[in-house]
């Protein structure tokens, strides 16, 4: 049984879709954030897979950056969530509708 790059890509697709569904259906801001992280990781997987395929380093370096950015993003996002929680006593995204038109 041979494993092709396509297999990896499909796994990445599945992960991305799961993350996506999570973002849409979940109400807890932290979980939503986690789902986002999952989607990022799906993307990372694609990078690594293609880097492997082309046999060069660029893709991996990109993943390196992506992880860094994800870390920064997570930090800021969590900070925001904390700030919001202080204001509104909730992290439920349904209650965060101050931007409603």
């Amino acid at each position: 049984m041979e494993i092709h790059i396509a297999h990896y890509l499909i796994v990445a697709g599945i992960l991305f879709s799961i993350g996506l569904v999570g973002v849409v259906v979940r109400r807890n801001a932290i979980v939503v954030l986690m789902c986002l992280e999952l989607m990022l990781n799906a993307a990372n997987l694609v990078f690594v897979a293609f880097a492997r395929m082309h046999g060069n380093m660029q893709g991996r370096i990109f993943v390196f950056f992506a992880i860094t950015v994800a870390a920064a993003e997570a930090a800021v996002m969590l900070a925001i969530i904390i700030a919001v929680y202080r204001q509104r006593e909730t992290v439920n995204t349904d209650d965060m509708d101050i931007m409603q038109g």
Binding site: A29, V32, T93, D94, D97, I98, Q100, G101
Partner: protein
């Protein structure tokens, strides 16, 4: 004098008043003496120079070619259809000099008179500046070389009349009267503009790049039979229309029915203004233009008939109204209207010579009458003739000059009015209805003037002031004009009675245009010759009938108002409905008021409503409202919840991916 001198003098006559007006406005408003000196000086200079020019012209004899000097005012260079050049300048020939002399001499008298009349008025300098400007406008018409120039000064006369009539600007009736004069004139100018354009392009159409505004060019075309036929064939019915439209301008200025309504109201201006405007200048402009452009009107038969009838109707209508007026200036105003109708009627019956002659004599005695009236008003502080009476004893100079003017106006032999009235009646005596209108007007004229004189100057004084004679500065001009009114007519008398014999006024006018008119008669129309040529001798039965009705008119008025044999009150009752109709001026003002207030303003309000509610309300604000409504609806989509946005983003993304990737694969 050579042509250059003539042109220079004409320029001086023309521009002296406007220079005076500018100087007064800019510099000498505070110093009354200098203002008056400038203003009066400029007009008197013009008068003297005009007389010099007149004598020069007389010395040169009839038929002297016109002197033309003009400069380009504005132009459009068009290689395809030829340049269109608008010129300004002076055309000096007998007609313009004659007119300028009338304006200058009568104007000088009035200006001097105004020195006395306006004494103590706070707007003294303003008055004299406007007055000088008015003289300038009128002289501009007089010396115009082309239709554009005449139109320019036509409008300027309109505006200076607006300013002068509305001189007492705090008096609502005065400003309203000024506005009315301006607007009525504007309506006349509306027709005139179209007429000028029509004529210009018609000429251009036929003859190529000809200056179709210039009087001499047009005169050349119209007097030459071949080119005229060509033009008339090309224009067809539009020829008559064009001539009539230009005449509409004259209708406005010369206050012909139905554009006459401004003239009586214009009495709101100071009396010198009335005298200037309604004797020698503004109202004369229309008649002057008909004479000036006689080569045009002479062959436009349909227009001529319309002109004659309009003149006749105006004359009769105004004369009847004058009979029932009580305001001395109003009587004179309607009298002016009536006499203008006379002149226009004469012009319309190919008697431009008679019209011009009457214009000249009328200028003198009507100015005299207005100023006499002014003198009376000055003394009695009222306009109502029923509050006067017995003034003959208290104001000797004014009285005898006024009576001289009255007799001249009534057309009593041998005063000035007699000769010119006789010319007019002779010109029209072949056209029965108009001739009888003319005779009727002569009777009415004598009657209402007699009524005015007997009521105001004889009998007992009925007012409560202490009237006294006006100062010399006011009555001396009256005396000068009275001399003209008494003896001035002889210059135009038929040859066998004329002190100048064959070389009377008419012989000069004859060459200037009447030959043309005579030709028109022979070619266009089969009517017997009117007054196209100079009458060799008095038309006896016309003269006798004319004089008889005038005397009869005076006599009847004496019976009513002098001896009081008949009661005016009874006559009033006898003619009940007619009296009401006439004393309400045939309800023409009411009709116009209805047009302006109801129809025009109604239409304006309708437009305003359309603007407010349809264009702005529905289209503009509707569009804005629609955008706002749509925004309101779309706003609902902004739930403020991240999930919704994410869902939408994903939905959109999916759609795009589907379309671009899969869709392209299958259908692209």
């Amino acid at each position: 004098m050579d042509d250059n001198t003539v042109a220079t003098l004409a320029y001086v006559i023309l521009f002296a008043p406007v220079v005076a007006a500018i100087l007064i406005t800019l510099f000498t408003r505070k110093s009354k003496g200098i203002s008056a000196f400038l203003s009066v000086g400029s007009v008197v200079t013009g008068g003297i120079l005009s007389v010099i020019l007149l004598f020069d012209q007389l010395a040169k004899g009839p038929g002297t070619p016109p002197v033309i000097s003009q400069f380009e005012w504005a132009a459009a260079r068009d290689s395809a259809i030829g340049d269109i050049v608008l010129n300004i300048g002076v055309q000096v020939d007998f007609i313009s000099i004659l007119m300028s002399t009338i304006v200058g001499v009568v104007g000088s008298c009035i200006f001097v008179y105004a020195l006395g009349y306006m004494k103590g008025d706070e707007g003294w300098s303003r008055f004299f500046a406007k007055f000088a400007f008015f003289a300038f406008s009128m002289l501009g018409i007089t010396y115009a070389t082309n239709f554009v120039q005449i139109f320019i000064f036509w409008e300027l006369v309109g505006v200076s009349s607006y300013l002068l009539i509305g001189y007492f600007y705090q008096k609502p009736s005065a400003t309203d009267a000024g506005k009315k004069a301006f607007m009525t004139n504007r309506i006349g100018d509306f027709g005139m503009t179209l007429g000028i354009l029509l004529l210009f392009f018609a000429v251009r159409d036929v003859f190529g790049a000809v200056d179709g505004f210039s009087f001499v060019e047009l005169q050349r075309i119209f007097t030459d039979e071949a080119s005229r036929t060509l033009l008339f064939d090309a224009m067809g019915w539009k020829a008559g229309l064009g001539a009539f439209l230009i005449f509409v301008g004259a209708m406005g200025k010369s206050a012909q029915f139905p554009l006459h309504v401004w003239l009586p109201d214009a009495m709101e201006g100071p009396t010198p203004v009335s005298a200037l405007m309604h004797a020698a200048t503004m109202v004369a402009a229309g008649v002057y233009m008909i004479v000036r452009c006689y080569w045009l009107f002479a062959w436009a038969e349909s227009a001529m008939i319309a002109i004659a009838w309009i003149g006749g109707i105006t004359a009769l209508m105004a004369a009847t109204i004058a009979v029932v007026q009580n305001d001395i200036k109003k009587i004179l105003a309607y009298s002016t209207l009536s006499q203008l109708g006379y002149m226009v009627m004469a012009c319309g019956m190919w008697g431009a010579g008679a019209g011009m002659f009457h214009l000249a004599t009328h200028a003198f005695f009507k100015a005299l009458l207005f100023m006499g009236a002014g003198s009376v008003i000055h003394a009695c502080h009222t306009n109502d003739i029923w509050e006067m009476g017995g003034l003959a004893k208290k104001m000797k100079h004014t009285t005898w000059t006024f009576i001289a003017g009255t007799l001249a106006l009534a057309g009593i032999f041998p005063l000035a009015g007699f000769w010119s009235k006789d010319e007019i009646l002779s010109a029209s005596h072949h056209i029965a209805p108009l001739y009888w209108i003319g005779v009727g007007v002569a009777f009415l004229t004598a009657f209402y003037m007699g009524r005015c004189v007997f009521t105001a100057f004889f009998g007992k004084y009925r007012g409560d002031g202490h009237p006294h004679e006006s100062p010399a500065v006011m009555w001396v001009p009256l005396a000068i004009l009275a001399i003209f009114a008494i003896f001035g007519g002889w210059v135009g008398a038929p040859a066998d009675l004329n002190p100048f014999g064959e070389h009377g006024l008419q012989s000069y006018l004859l060459v200037a245009y009447t030959t043309v008119a005579e030709g028109a008669h022979q070619q266009v129309i089969n009517w017997p010759t009117g007054q196209g040529h100079m009458a060799k001798s008095l038309h006896m039965n016309v003269a006798v009938i004319g004089t008889l009705v005038a005397v009869a008119g005076l006599f009847v008025s004496y019976l009513f108002y002098g001896s009081r044999k008949f009661s005016a009150e009874k006559a009033k009752k006898m003619f009940g409905p007619i009296y009401t109709l006439v004393s309400n001026k045939y309800y023409i003002d009411e009709f116009y008021l209805f047009l302006v207030k109801k129809v025009q303003q109604g239409f304006a309000n309708l437009c305003s409503i359309v603007e407010q509610h349809i264009i702005i309300g529905i289209f503009v604000n509707g569009l804005a409202g629609g955008a706002r409504e749509a925004g309101d609806k779309f706003r609902k989509m902004q739930t403020g919840r991240v999930n919704t946005y994410v869902t939408m983003i994903l939905g959109g993304l999916t759609l795009l991916v589907f379309l671009f990737v899969v869709g392209k694969e299958f259908w692209g």
